[in-house]
Amino acid sequence: MRRQIPLYIVLVCGIVFVIQFFIPSHESEFIFEYGQDWVMVIGILALPLGIWSYLRKTWLTAVKKPKERFFAGVSLFGFAIMMLTGLKRESLMAGSLYMELFEYVLIPIQATIFSLLAFYIASAAYRAFRARSVIATMLLGTAFIVMLRLIPLGPISDVNQALVGWILSVPNMAAKRGLLIGIGLGAIATCIKIILGIERTYLGRD
């Protein structure tokens, strides 16, 4: 029963929410919104699990690895300071300490980490893109043409601009559509398998 009841819940919820999509009415809209709220409430109440896991891991690192103790402390300090500064709802307004920390700590670090990838992506590309075959040459050539169009000086020629426009709107779009259709069909199949109880790995083990 411990595994059967969740499977029935998935079956009933899945079928109800698929049906409500095809019957547009106030009732189905209410079911949709109420269901979405339920999911959000369950999700937010699952957050303490993640926080507990983070605190436990950081604490254990600090206890077991003396060399890492300072950095674990920094992480815990960052977490604690954001929790304390964000206690009041007014702290979500611009100019509060909570939002200042977001703007001057979180955003610069995240932006810099992403900008670092400019260096590593180039070295990775060198290894991956060496024109050994027609396929690799195609990848390399397209990337090169697109990058030439996006240099800070602007488009180097009208031909390059027109070519990039065509690449983005025809082969690039075709590849994306092919992938999206494939992803869509795969996702639909997986959803059906989950609703029918064929795919049940989310239940875990006893």
């Binding site: 109800v16 926080i51 400019a118 709107s169 259709i181 609703i195 989310y202």
Partner: protein, 207 residues
Amino acid sequence: MTTVELLWNGLAAFLTLCIFSFLYKDNPFYKFAEQLVAGVALGYWTMLLYHTTFTDKVLIPIFQQGKLHYILPTIMGIMMWTRFSKKLAYLSRIAIAFYIGVGTGVALPLYMYNYVFRQLQATVVPLQFSWLGLNSLLMVSFVTCTLFYFFFSKEHKGTFGGLSKVGIYTLMAGFGASFGLTVMGRVALLVQRIIFLREYFIALFGS
């Protein structure tokens, strides 16, 4: 820049340089910024979700608006905490099942509509005898060939193999374009960070 702004920007500049120091090698400054961002990000999202979701979807509906039916999802959410106990962990499956059930039920028609029907609708358009029409024809051919490439129930040989080869070329052109856009996006971010540092040092020491 006021003194307060200068101090905040000083902190941002210091953290930016800490992250850039990784270009030399892994070092304590990079680790400091890395660990700080992990804690700050978790704290930021926790409080943001507390105010925008927990307060708005649990506390206000139950205690201020008297919507007692919101107690049910709250109980389900609390059931997630039973994962801490080996004996009661099975109860968390009920909440997970509801989450998965609603998620798949909502996602299934949306995937069908957005990822399949709308993509097909945008691909198969009335044919015109013009440059645009030629592009539309190429689009249909390339999408079809890409789908052939992903069809693994038949061996990629002969005509089918040729078509799937066109499909892989299309995919490679698409990946190349995406790669080019990503690299240049990251370069733009790098330029932005360098401009930020330059402006900060100009404000600090004068031009």
